[in-house]
Symmetry: C2
Subunit: 583 residues, 2 copies
């Protein structure tokens, strides 16, 4: 008798439910719900309260609506009986967090807090907590906190405690009114099951939790802010539940929302990127999964704990049980191509694409595919959105070198693709060099489906085969797999995530294989990419930081204080020359 | 009684005559003639003979037609009696040269040579003689030829002997059939006067002639090619006539072509850039004249002979008598802006410009004018067309640093303008540092009229006042001034070019003055421009050359041979590190 599971993927702009067959992962039905309030980055709904720059909020009601709309829809579409749906899992953007009352009510649902921006959900891309992140890092370095190295030496402004500290700094009354501070991922599970759980994936990657050491010590939090000393014990929880575990069962209320049966197994929450490892059948060391979209998230399992410079984080059991889950990322990929297409392509290509009946990305890709590696004489550093990988530096910028009066848009488009591929190679080599082998690669996300040239270039640049996840909805499928594991074998589900991956995951037949002559040429170009990477990224010439400082000074109206070259004075001394210093 | 002179300016696509009042330089009439055959860079007229890449030819008949069309037209338009026109002068692009018979007949006019590309005029931008230029430089360096330093250490592929040697290499029968090898400038004067003269401006700047030393020695030419040994004595002339001298008088035939009177004084030929010094009233040391268009030509007079790295040339009496005339140049300026506008501006700006009823350059300029120095956080190296100034290197390429996902087209447009301004500052500082003072600047050419933002940025970047030549036709006016000098005072003309400049030249009232706060900011940005200039231009990282080598290899189908870093091995040794060498 066929059994089914439902996965719900909570994205940035919408939520999607997929109903899949537990025996083979076949997607029977799917439904998308666009959030009514989407990304709130200008003003609050209803009150119209203005937000400052770099803010990005969400409305928790949009998450509830996602359950109410999408699950009934997939049941209807598929005609599957609710009783045959044995489990449900979810994945979420992270860190996306909110302050709630003891019973789970978001503060922003309460009239007295509704007009306060800090009462709302802080979305992953809320970037206004940079001063707090700076403090978190400075205090950690000063105290010699060991965990810092597990996060590439730098905690991001996007992460949990940066956001918590911003609430405490800017809205202490909200901090005090919040009985719990919780990831959106865990909050929606709470809504389904009626009880609060905390998954080890968001805790590990976003809230500085490690299986053996737990959270940072009380003294550290106290050093950050006296009132933060007991944040873990008063507003979080030390009980962290591993992925694949059952969080609970669907309440009668949640059953009414969704049309599923009360008592249906609900899995512990997951993160959208990490949940794609099982669908990619990459539940063992050596296989890197790359979620390729506006940015790239690189994940790979390792058998031992090592430190890799610039990785986003390593968490024991953080992706699948029994392994260290390593995560790294490139902050700009599809975003850079989108910038280029919107800001730097002349009308003739827009018209040509229209005539050819394809979108501009596709047209440029086709034109770029006619070129050979290096033929255009261009090279770029893919830092349009900073460098989140081995440099962990938001203050570097994009670079294009080699343009001539004959340079054409498709040539620059290809150079940008190549640059992001070089960026990925940099990350792979950092893993390899530091003892985390990368043998095969599986791509997921939107880009691999849309851009075969990009996939071929990545294969050529990294000299590795690129497979592709079979499912176009890998996140939701991964969530459904976790739902099937939470249901267990007795209910017709799976023993563990490894078994689920074997049955329900899979790859496309298409595999991009490196073309030997391109590999050779790209090795030469990569050597130059590395030289520029080193020069602009590691202090020999901090021109990018100075340019950012300039820009910032104009935006904020403050005095221009330029960072001096970190390496210049030293080098000049070595070379026996004088270096002019500007005061 | 009013007296008039006519100046004829032979440009790349057309010729222009201007009839001016000798007493005050007032332009009474002007007329343009577009060359029928324009720039011949694809195939020969009539025979359809295909040309190789980098070729650029012209048809001498277009020059004759210019006289026949434009001079009658300005006489007609002005109503001035031919008897009141006391002199005529011309200026020409250079080096633009052709092979002719003893009587001045171009070889390409003769049926037996007409289908041979080498029989035609080689236009200044004919770039196919690079191998010959390389040989000219290598042999000169090997022999320790002293004159090499007077030309910035490098003879260009555009110059006279590069072109001559290409004829000898590739078409020895044409070389042998040519009784004379001559600049187009001197050839048109020959057609007017019936006698061959050679002006000291093209000889000095383009044909390695110096007032004291003359041409390079016979042995040098012999070392280049045995058949070239006697080229000066057999096909050129050692009699070089100074600017401002009278070349001769209008023949009856030329009088019939033009409607002028036979016997009218004709001045020795001039070069288009150099002839603008008198209209700019810059006939004394310390005033730099910049001809600003697709590229920039910088000219300044000096009282003594010094060597300035990367200058195009220094010639005694080469611009006006009694001074050393220094010339430098930026190979890409307006060309870069045109590239940008054609290749990198998205449709929204095209539409906005259309709506605003201005061209796209003007629209981008207006948008860019709203930004402050450094506000966009962008910096560029203006090497889209190589670097013809202090690096004398065609193999460097353009660079843009600091782009982000928020970067907009007008910001890049401004960064490109700023980069060309930094390039000019680099040239000015090279002159200053080496003993050629630059106190004031006068701008001429198309750009200063069209782009006030550009002029302000140049003033701010160089911290110097920028004046502008009054005449919009400065070249033709300069030629007319030389015509008035050739006519002499008895005929109602001028004693010398200094007197002519005083009476007939002049500046606009508009002067661009540096804005102190911008000067300070640009000093900071310029320091970074210089760092990048040094790093990419002087061997620390030859990535630009490697990229060009890549490109060239694909175009020619040859093996990829990459230039190694000139400075890398040395630096690595100093730093005590190993450098990997690629074979």
């Amino acid at each position: 008798m066929a059994r089914y599971a439902i996965g719900v993927d909570f994205g940035t702009e919408s939520g999607r439910a997929v109903l899949v067959d537990v025996s083979d992962g076949r997607e029977v039905a799917s439904h998308v719900h666009a959030y009514a309030n989407g990304v709130i980055d200008d003003k609050l709904p209803e009150t119209g309260q203005k937000l400052e720059p770099d803010w990005a909020l969400q409305d928790p009601n949009d998450y509830l609506e996602t359950f109410k709309r999408t699950i009934p829809a997939v049941l209807r579409e598929s005609g599957i009986a609710p009783a045959d749906v044995i489990g449900i899992g979810i994945d979420f953007t992270a860190c996306t967090m909110l302050p709630v009352k003891k019973d789970g009510t978001p503060l922003c649902f309460l009239p007295e807090f509704r007009k306060d921006p800090h009462a709302w959900v802080k979305l992953w891309k809320h970037h206004a907590a940079q001063p707090e992140a700076d403090r978190i890092n400075a205090v950690a370095r000063k105290r010699g906190e060991k965990w810092l190295d597990l996060y590439g030496g730098k905690i991001s402004s996007e992460w949990f405690f940066s956001k918590v500290l911003q609430i405490l700094d800017e809205a202490p009354h909200i901090y005090r009114a919040a009985d719990r501070l919780i990831e959106g991922a865990d909050w929606v599970i709470w809504q389904l099951t009626g009880r609060e759980t905390r998954n080890n994936c968001t805790a590990g990657y976003k809230a500085i939790w490690q299986k053996k050491e737990g959270f940072p010590p009380r003294d550290y939090f106290k050093a950050l802010h006296p009132e933060l000393a007991d944040v873990v014990d008063t507003k979080l929880s030390r009980e962290i539940v591993p992925l694949g575990a059952k969080a609970g069962e669907l309440t009668a209320q949640a059953a009414a929302w969704t049309g599923l049966k009360a008592g249906t197994a609900v899995a512990v929450a997951n993160v959208d990127a990490h949940v794609t490892i099982p669908p990619a059948q990459a539940c063992q060391p050596g296989i890197m999964v790359m979620i390729m979209g506006t940015s790239i998230c690189h994940m790979v399992l390792g058998a031992k704990l090592v430190r890799v410079p610039g990785m986003c984080g390593v968490v024991e059991d953080g992706i699948v049980p029994g392994y260290y889950g390593y995560e790294a990322g490139q902050s700009g990929v599809g975003d850079i191509f989108a910038w280029f297409v919107e800001n730097a392509v002349p009308p003739e290509y827009h018209e040509a694409a229209r005539k050819a009946g394809v979108n501009l990305h596709k047209y440029l890709e086709q034109e770029a595919a006619k070129q050979k590696p290096g033929e255009a004489g261009l090279l770029a550093l893919d830092w349009w959105n900073g460098n989140r990988s081995t440099l962990v530096d938001v203050d570097v910028g994009g670079l294009l070198v080699g343009a001539t009066l004959a340079t054409k848009a498709p040539e620059i488009y290809r150079a940008l693709i190549e640059a992001t591929a070089f960026g990925t190679r940099e990350i792979i080599e950092a893993f390899q060099t530091n003892g985390v082998p990368v043998k095969r690669i599986v791509a997921a996300g939107g880009l691999p489906e849309r851009n075969p040239l990009l996939m071929q270039i990545y294969a050529d640049v990294t000299n590795r085969e690129f497979a592709m996840v079979r499912s176009a909805q890998a996140c939701a499928l991964g969530s459904a797999m976790h739902g099937a594991v939470a249901a267990g074998t007795l209910a017709g589900g799976h023993r563990d995530i490894f078994a689920a991956a074997e049955k329900m995951g899979g790859l496309k037949e298409t595999v991009y294989k490196p073309i030997p002559e391109n590999v050779k040429l790209y090795n030469l170009l990569y050597a130059d990419y590395q030289r520029l990477y080193e020069y602009f990224g590691r202090g020999a010439n901090d021109v990018m930081k100075r340019l950012k400082a300039f820009k910032r000074a104009w935006v904020t109206g403050s005095k221009i204080v330029l960072p001096a070259d970190r390496g210049a004075a030293k080098k000049a001394r070595k070379a026996g020359r004088k270096v002019r210093r500007r005061k």
